[in-house]
């Protein structure tokens, strides 16, 4: 059953009702066709069809609006524990799913899956896209994180007891790292703990409890760390876990050259500082991820516009894709109009021109 078509973009949607509904999508799934597409899928879900497979062998183009329609349908399926798979994607369309990290969510598959792609989860192509997202989100966070934690260590050193040095330990995969330290002595003493036989910050991170060593002279729990700390004049240490949820994200470590420097009230204050730092880290992680998602969506729209303008120029100037892109870029540089804006102008001019010749616009069948 063909339920919708649009001759201008070649968009076509056919539905075959079965236990798993098969929806064949052809042509361009873009800002024009996406609303109709989303409405059809929503109607299917509303009628109790919770398992949907999209067959995309004839899908020639998908943009951010198309992805948005898919995401909207996926959201409708969540409450009914439904499933949606997207099969037969071209390399270009599959790349869009990879970049937006949606391969897993939509069980996205290419037209011709590469051999051995399903042998092991570790080798699936979406690993590349996941790595991109993680790397970018991580480096975006790293700059802010360093600033925030540097402030935290400075404040802890100034406000808590007779503290002479402070640092923050964080988990990174299976390792511990010092993300910020008030000085190099403290950083070194942290690192001795990570590579040697442990110490207060390792114990606080692993066990999620505050570790207090009031007198390193009498301390028996750790070997190399205690010796090296005493060699550098440290007499007492206090490590408080950074707890978000069940597993501590790391520890706030305070070092002092005074024996028994951290009294009961100081230990309570250190705990407060650690909780505050953990909440800050948690919030920072969420905020950065959200900002990053928005930027990626915006970048995808920009890429769509540029690709369309490239297509117009290829036809208009009878050049290949690279020459069309170079023309756009040179034009942008010459006029100091951003490339994206230049591309948008070209797409809109072309659209206006088409509308002038076809005032009825695209007819939906």
């Amino acid at each position: 059953m063909t339920v919708n078509s649009d001759p201008a973009s070649g968009f076509r949607l056919s539905v075959r009702l079965a236990d798993t509904v098969e929806v064949a999508v052809a042509g361009e799934l873009d800002i024009v066709s996406a609303p109709d597409f989303a409405a059809v899928l929503a109607a299917l879900v509303a009628r109790g069809h919770g398992r949907i497979t999209l067959e995309c062998d004839e899908l020639s183009f998908i943009d951010a609006s198309g992805l948005g329609a898919l995401a909207a349908t996926r959201a409708l399926l969540d409450p009914v524990a439904g499933e949606m798979s997207v099969h037969g994607l071209s390399d270009a369309a599959y790349r869009v799913f990879e970049i937006t990290d949606l391969v897993d969510l939509f069980h996205a598959q290419r037209q011709n899956p590469k051999p051995h792609a399903d042998e092991s989860d570790e080798q699936e192509p979406d690993q590349v896209a996941k790595r991109v997202s993680r790397v970018v989100a991580e480096s975006a966070r790293a700059d802010v994180l360093t600033d925030v934690l540097t402030h935290v260590t400075a404040m802890a050193r100034n406000f808590i007891g007779s503290c002479d040095g402070a640092s923050v330990t964080l988990r990174r995969a299976d390792n511990l790292i010092t993300a910020a330290a008030s000085d190099e002595t403290v950083r070194h003493l942290d690192e001795v703990q990570y590579t040697g036989d442990g110490g207060p910050c390792v114990d606080a991170t692993h066990h999620g409890v505050q570790i207090h060593a009031p007198s390193l002279v009498d301390e028996q729990r750790w070997g190399p760390f205690t010796t090296q700390a005493r060699d550098r004049g440290m007499e007492s240490v206090l490590s408080s876990p950074l707890t978000v949820g069940e597993q501590p994200a790391g520890a706030l470590n305070l070092y002092s050259r005074t024996p028994d420097a951290f009294r009961t009230s100081d230990r309570a204050l250190a705990s407060e500082f650690a909780t505050f730092t953990a909440m800050l880290l948690h919030q920072l992680e969420r905020t950065t991820a959200q900002q990053f998602e928005g930027r990626i969506r915006d970048a995808l729209i920009s890429r769509d516009v540029i690709a369309r303008a490239q297509g117009v120029l290829m036809e208009r100037l009878e050049v290949d894709a690279q020459d069309a892109y170079d023309t756009l870029r040179r034009d942008s540089a010459k006029s100091s109009i951003p490339l994206r804006q230049r591309a948008l102008d070209i797409v809109e001019e072309t659209q206006d021109h088409a509308d002038a010749h076809d005032p009825e616009g695209r007819a939906h069948g």
Partner: protein
């Protein structure tokens, strides 16, 4: 999207791309987002390798990165300090 039809290496730009990036006040992440929005297809780590000279970009990649940096300079009221490579074959304009 940006197409890559050749893999011809180009000489190191002068001033180096990373120098221009820092001059434009862009973090590597911010530059990657701009580069990606302009059609770039490489991952952030590869972009970083181009910036530091560990990998040599193709002519097309170099010009794309240069343009992403130059657009930021223009936003800040400046000019286009990063030169494009092999860009005098034909005139611009559409």
């Amino acid at each position: 999207m940006q197409m890559h039809t050749t893999r011809k290496a180009v000489p190191m730009a002068d001033p180096p791309l990373d120098h221009a990036r820092i001059g434009a006040g862009l973090s590597v992440t911010e530059l990657w987002l701009r580069y990606f929005a302009l059609g770039g297809n490489n991952e952030p780590l590869e972009l970083e390798a181009y910036l530091h000279g560990a990998l040599e970009p193709t002519t097309e990649e170099h010009n794309l990165i240069a343009h992403a940096i130059n657009e930021r300079h223009v936003e800040l009221g400046g000019d286009h300090p990063v030169p494009y490579v092999n860009d005098d074959r034909r005139g611009g304009g559409t």
